[in-house]
Every structure is written in C-alpha cells, then in structure tokens.
C-alpha cells in the first residue's frame, strides 16, 4: 500500500477501515540466499537496499526481539556529516545525501528535518581546528560555514557567552544537518524491505553459527536452524556476543551511553547544538522536550542503563551552556549499548569465515550512518567488494596502522 495525501483523505472519509498491517509476520523458511542478523536500523536498511538497489532476493532479517527495539530507538536522532578524516567524511556525506532523499525513496514519513547543527568554539585553537574541519568537509562536497560570536548570539541570545572557563567565541555550522524521527526510520526500511519480499522474522535469536570447512552454512536460532549462502551481522552493541559464535574476538568494547529528555517547553532551540567542552549536545523535539546527552559512562556494560554520576555530569554541562534551563525538570533518561571500537570508527568488512560479513563498531555515531551503512553493507554482501565510501572500514586497519582516529585517542575505547 503506497502512502500519499490522497490516501489519508480517502481513509479519513471512510472511517480508516482500509489500513492494513505494515509488514507480514512470516515463518522462517529452511534456507535463504542472505540472512541479515539484527532487525535494527542498519540491518533493515541493509535488507532494503539489497532488495531494491542490488536486485537480490530470498533475504531474511532475524531479530532477537522486535523490529527497531534496540539502538535505533534509543539515540538522540541527529544527522550530520561534519567529520575531518578522509576515511570518514565521504561515507557520512553519502549518508546525509541518502537522508535527503529517503522519505521519497521509501515512501514513508520519517520527519527528516534539516534544521542545522552548530558546534560551539571556545578557544582560538579550537577555531583553527574547526576551520580545518570545515575545509575538509567542503573539499568532500559537504556544506560547512564558520559562525562568529555575534552570529551565534543572533541564533541563541540566551546562551552563557561569558562563561569564565569556556566563553563562546563562535561555531562551525552545517545547515544540512538536523534530526530524523528515529523509530520511523526503522519502520520505513522494514516496510520497504517487506514490500520487496524480505522476510522480517522477529523473536528469533541467533544462538550459533554452522561453519564447515571455513564456510558459513547457516545459523542456529531460537526458531530452529536456517540455512544461508551469505550471512551479514549488523547487531552493534552485541557484536562481540554474536561474532563469538564464529570464534572471533573483535577490536570492540561494549559501553553504555545515556540520553535524556526534559519536560515539554515552548520553542527554544530550533537546531542541534553541541558544547564540546562539556561534551553536552542538545536539540528540541517537535513535542517540545529538550533531547540531550553527553559522554558514555566509561566502563564495559551490557546493562542498557547507566549510573547517576554521568547524569550529574551531563546536567552540569547543560547548566554551564544554558543557565536558563535550571528549573526545567528531567522527564526520562535511558541507556543504549554502544560498540566502542579501538579508533572510534566503524567496521564494514568480510571476515575470515567465507560468506560471513560484519557491520559494527559504530561507537555513538551509528544513527546518522544508517542509510549509508545499509547501502555499503548491501554492496559488500552482493558484490563481495567494499563500496567506494566504505573502503577504509576494514578489520585489518589496526594491524596495518591505518586507523581512522578522529579524536587521536589511540586504543582506548572509552575515550573516543
């Protein structure tokens, strides 16, 4: 069923009796050409592009719980392509271009809102670094501009410009950045994949992998054995657990990242803003709540909930930047599990097991990458070679010294 304005009006006039479930709930078949493990944003996008762009069939997505129940529904919904390094920027700009055409492409309202993102500057050194970053972005075909202190003041006059430690001296802006309704991304991709014959199999946990002579044969699941020619793993957060079924140790630690939403307020922030000095970032949802977050808790965790010290730290960052929110009440906080990789960048690559492919290590930048991650992973699965924008996301970059380390922190996952 295609969605359109006409359809909404027609249904309104006939009592909304024509709407049908958005996707099927099929039983797993005995074998598939492709199995994607993980029914989150990246897994569903992979299945969608495999079917639509690469013309493949007999595809299943296996999801342990329900579709979109993991990190795609737990993030702070920001999209942007403001990276510095050659290995990253073309990929994230490809992703931002896919976001721009996404709703027309999969005929679903994902509320893509290019409301702009600014990263604040507090020192001259930071201005130099951000100017360099803006030049790198422009050279890769993205948009970037430098804002003066007065430009920022026009946008948000109520910020704490004269903070004694971190005075605001300007910002780098990407006007094409913004936010997207994250649940609708999962639902749109799921619907698009289902319409093209992909079996979306929920409540189906992968409990083992059958590997014979170095080649994948299929996966053991809580709903029985399912054979496959190729298996793609897209389960960021649980990557180490799933890849252990294939005997692999990964350059990844799982960490908990918390996010927060305040009570609803009148319009205050019309874009996305980051305060790097305190690692605090914020946007305002269409319902009025301030959606914000900060650092990961910093210790290995699979708990999907964090501890109070980080909540206090994030609140302090918010107060340093925006004293006006001092009386605003926190409505909810929650946690998601991040694949923190050893250089802060993701992996989309083959594995030593023939027919087994891996997509993970997204740290806390996975949501904005969803469309390009799906596209590039589908490219790898269908053609056995990396997409041009994802060539650097290899497993062996650590062995060869080709790390993509935006923050220059080295092999310390909790500092990326």
């Amino acid at each position: 069923m295609r969605y359109s304005g006409f359809r909404v009006i027609a249904e309104a006039l006939t009592g909304h009796k024509g709407w049908k479930p958005v996707w099927r709930d099929p039983e797993p078949q005995a074998t598939y050409d492709y199995i994607i493990i993980g029914g989150g944003g990246h897994g569903l996008a992979t299945a969608y592009y495999l079917a639509k762009e690469f013309g493949q069939a007999r595809i299943a997505v296996l999801e342990k719980g329900y579709l979109g129940g993991g990190n795609v529904g737990r993030n702070t919904t920001i999209i942007r392509s403001n990276y510095l390094l050659d290995g990253n920027e073309p990929f994230y700009e490809f992703s931002l271009k896919l976001w721009e055409g996404l709703e027309q492409d999969f005929n679903y309202n994902a509320m893509v809102s290019q409301r702009g993102i600014i990263n604040l500057i507090h020192t001259d050194a930071q201005r130099d670094a951000f100017t360099r970053r803006a030049n790198a972005m422009i050279l890769h075909g993205a948009d970037a501009e430098m804002l003066s202190r007065e430009d920022v003041r026009k946008l948000y006059p109520w910020l704490n410009f004269d903070n004694a430690r971190f005075p605001i001296k300007g910002a780098i802006a990407q006007k094409r950045g913004g936010t997207v309704r994250h649940d609708a991304v999962a639902w749109g991709y799921a619907r698009g994949a289902d319409m093209r014959g992909v079996d979306l199999i929920q409540n189906c946990e992968v409990t083992g992998m059958r590997i014979v002579g170095g080649r994948i044969q299929g996966v053991e699941t809580s709903r029985g054995y399912i054979g496959a020619k190729k298996v793609g793993v897209a389960v960021a957060g649980s990557s180490s657990k799933v890849m252990a079924h294939a005997g692999m140790r990964l350059p990844i630690e799982s960490h908990v990242l918390q996010a927060f939403v305040s009570e609803g307020l009148k319009p205050l922030i019309d874009g996305v803003m980051t305060f790097g000095a305190g690692h605090f970032y914020v946007s305002q949802s269409d319902k009025g709540g301030l959606v914000f977050g900060g650092d990961i808790d910093g210790y290995n965790s699979y708990a999907q909930r964090g501890n109070l010290p980080v909540i206090e730290d994030v609140a302090e960052g918010g107060m340093a930047l925006m004293p006006a929110i001092g009386r605003v009440r926190l409505l909810r906080s929650w946690g998601g599990i991040m694949d923190m990789s050893m250089d802060g960048s993701p992996i989309i690559d083959k594995t030593p097991v023939e027919g087994l492919y891996f997509n993970g290590g997204w740290c806390y930048g996975g949501f904005k990458a969803t469309p390009a991650s799906g596209w590039c992973f589908a490219h790898l699965l269908a053609k056995d070679e990396s997409h041009t924008t994802a060539k650097a996301y290899r497993f062996d970059r650590f062995l060869k010294g080709l790390m993509i380390d935006e923050k220059g922190q080295g092999a310390t996952p909790n500092l990326h």
Partner: protein, 94 residues
C-alpha cells in the same frame, strides 16, 4: 558503583579511572612476541556479557591499580584485588 578497595575500604567509582580488560596486565614482549600477538593484545577484546575482570586506577585516591571483577550486565561488583598482587601471583616481579 561502590568499589571495595582492599586497603582503603568502600570508595565511589567516580574516584577511579577505567582502563579495560585485566588481560592488559600481560603485555607480550614486543621484541619477541611478533606483530600478530602484539596486535591481538593491543586491539582485540573478549568483551563478555557477564563476569569481567578489569583494571581500575584509583587516581583520586592512593593511585593504586586494582583488578575489579564485575558483572557487565548488572554492574554488580564481585571482587576487588590489587593489580600488584594479581601480577605477582602470575610470577611477575612487580
């Protein structure tokens, strides 16, 4: 989280800096181990869901390194040892 320091008693986890898997104590000899072994030491992790032995540094305390055994699913702390004692028990000089 409260970490029961073997010498100082119960301390808030905020006083500590986290490094990661306690296997980092066993650094191979870079001159003899070979690049593959050193790559595995530096970059790959078991990353278990459940019991995890890990290194915490008491930066805002006595600056000792501890080996904390903690459940990564529940955050429950199951045991705390001085990293020095762990290394010596493995035959190291310090």
């Amino acid at each position: 989280m409260i970490i029961h320091h073997p010498i100082l008693g119960p301390r808030d986890a905020q006083e500590f800096v986290y490094l990661g898997d306690a296997s980092l104590i066993n650094r191979p000899d870079g001159m003899t181990a070979g690049i593959e072994a050193f790559h595995d030491y530096a970059y790959n992790r078991n990353n278990p869901a459940g019991e995890h032995r890990e290194l915490w540094y008491h930066e805002q305390g006595d600056r000792s390194w501890l080996v904390v055994t903690r459940n990564t699913v529940t955050h429950e702390i199951l045991g705390v040892e001085l990293a020095r004692d762990v290394a010596r028990a493995q035959g190291r000089s310090k």
